[in-house]
Symmetry: C2
Subunit: 351 residues, 2 copies
């Protein structure tokens, strides 16, 4: 981040003392129940702080590195919360999921731990590490063309044939509650540090993670503003929030942020997010890559492109964090070695 | 790590209920005092656990990622413990240090925070990121030829000319006590997890980190065996421990583990380590690189070559961890982007 750069950032939203309505599809109690279910199965990721990043930004930046989670992304939390409630004896067909890669790994690992068969429908252009890891956890993988085929249809047909239960990637209260445990831990650990969160920045695709986090954090720290961060050109949630209705992206491919290409907000997630979120943000692929390289140099964390977008929003000045306490979720770290190497080489080194 | 590989590992030492003698140069109380000094200045690094690594090794592996420390390595701890006790008003000449790079950054950052001038004598072949960061913290850098010049002589002459205080990299009780806070935190956090440590594996150059950790851990968990891990061909401490006297390495260059090329154990560190350590281990550059790539793929942590040697000792089967609880220190993550990219590309991907 160059010194003296021009700031035209989004101001952090004014204090909104909105309680989380109990009428929403996911309640705080659901997240507490999910936290009990995942305890001892998921990694309780730490809350990290970099003096260098604080000095650079002028804020207090708290980093929740879900790249350190089991399977390399937050997705295991929701998957385990759903799958741990399935009885293998009565579900011999196991589970079916469709996923760009991280949910696939979360479901595959959770199913294996639960003794359930798993079949995952994945885009053919999914990073090799995500496909290999999904198979490595014992799941069967079926690929499809992201531009021309419907993953929901393929998964639905297979599930009917097998008598399997579909574990959706985000539009499911159990999944959202599981992802919300990120926010619960964040609020608990921030409180332990004596920090009151002004804002939380969350990488966003279908909206399950940001919706769960918003539900948890705003229940504990109501004045925190929660911002989704999406890839530029794939900012369906930001535009939907602004329009007050669910809008779709023009494209389904064309960003290095392979985890964040969901075409439109979910119905359930949007019911939550439209109530709880502050305006959404978007970053370019270049800003995501620069944030990955920053995380390498300074945080020593491996972030995948989509996992780095919230950090990118801060580093590129999309939000004014000066004098504020802002949490950043690094949502995953599953990136192919070759792409990561290329991003390190292409991004100019720090001064 | 291939399945079915042949194990000829070092057995973890039998229970040794050796109390840490109070006559040693660093006492447990010195480490507790250092912990008080660094609190709020150093990062309290988390203790991480990877279910995948546990499953792979058959042990319970607890990872202390000092790559997440301020300046990207544990070295800030010792530097701050020493430098925070220097009064800038009475020491206008500031501090002088000699370092292969990580101590340089630790001293430079600590001196800047304390308002002291810093001059660092660094080998000319130090990774660019370490030189750039050292200057970035405001220190003056003087380079020398690792093979033909004595850094101690250069630093001593400059310190005399300037009236500066030398902050040695390891052979100093304040430095050792500072590094020992890694062990104090490790013992505290392991106890919090209900884990009793069977062994601790520590990357080792001059022996300050392993000596400090041994003092702290064996004071709290006396049956833990503490092993140094060095680069093959630079295993002066392992050979010195076996011989019962300080031996030197044949070479001063020739490993990618640039942080671990100290020619011989320190006098003070060896006085401690010869009393407290179990036999030392060594790993090849290839094993260190493979561990870096593993940490990338599975732990999502950036480890530098020297920082990865303890993990490498486990992944390459140098120690039998099956059924045991073993802590691994990842001591630093300051590696140039280009070298890191090359190591990722050169190491075969996981199956």
């Amino acid at each position: 981040m160059a010194e003296g750069r021009c700031y035209s950032p989004l101001p952090i939203a004014a204090v909104e003392q909105l309680p989380v309505p109990d009428a929403l599809p996911v309640r705080f109690a659901d997240i507490e129940a999910a936290a009990t279910r995942i305890a001892g199965h998921a990694v309780r990721t730490p809350l990290l702080e970099s003096p260098q990043l604080n000095a650079l930004t002028g804020g207090r930046i708290l980093i929740k590195p879900e790249c350190l989670q089991r399977t390399g992304s937050f997705k295991f939390r929701g998957a385990w919360n759903r799958i741990s409630q399935i009885d293998p004896a009565t579900t011999p067909g196991g589970v079916v999921a469709y996923s760009s890669g991280n949910h696939a790994q979360g479901v595959a690992a959770a199913a294996a731990m639960r003794g359930l068969k798993a079949l995952i429908v994945m885009p053919a252009d999914t990073p090799a590490i995500k496909q290999a890891n999904t198979r490595g956890y014992g799941a069967e993988v079926v690929t499809y063309d992201r531009a021309s085929q419907s993953r929901e249809e393929i998964a639905g047909r297979i599930a009917r044939e097998r008598g399997a239960i579909i574990v959706p990637p985000f539009d499911d209260p159990h999944i959202i509650a599981g992802q919300g445990t990120v926010g619960l831990e964040l609020a608990e650990d921030a409180a332990r540090l004596g920090a009151s969160l002004d804002a939380v920045l969350v990488p966003c695709s279908g909206g399950g993670l940001v919706g769960g986090i918003a539900t948890a954090v705003k229940s504990r720290m109501p004045k925190a503003s929660i911002h989704s961060v999406e890839p530029a050109g794939f900012d369906d949630l930001a535009r939907s929030l602004a329009a007050g209705k669910r809008l779709a992206n023009d494209r389904t491919t064309g960003s290095i942020c392979d985890a964040l290409l969901s075409p439109t907000p979910g119905e359930i997630t949007f019911a939550i997010n439209s109530k709880l979120l502050a305006p959404g943000l978007a970053v370019s692929d270049g800003e995501a890559g620069a944030a990955m390289a920053y995380a390498f140099d300074r945080l020593k964390l491996v972030a995948e492109p989509g996992g780095a977008v919230a950090l990118a929003a801060i580093l590129s000045g999309k939000v004014d964090v000066r004098g504020r306490t802002v949490a950043v979720i690094i949502s995953g770290g599953n990136v192919d070695r070759a792409l990561y190497a290329r991003i390190l080489i292409e991004n100019p080194s720090l001064p």
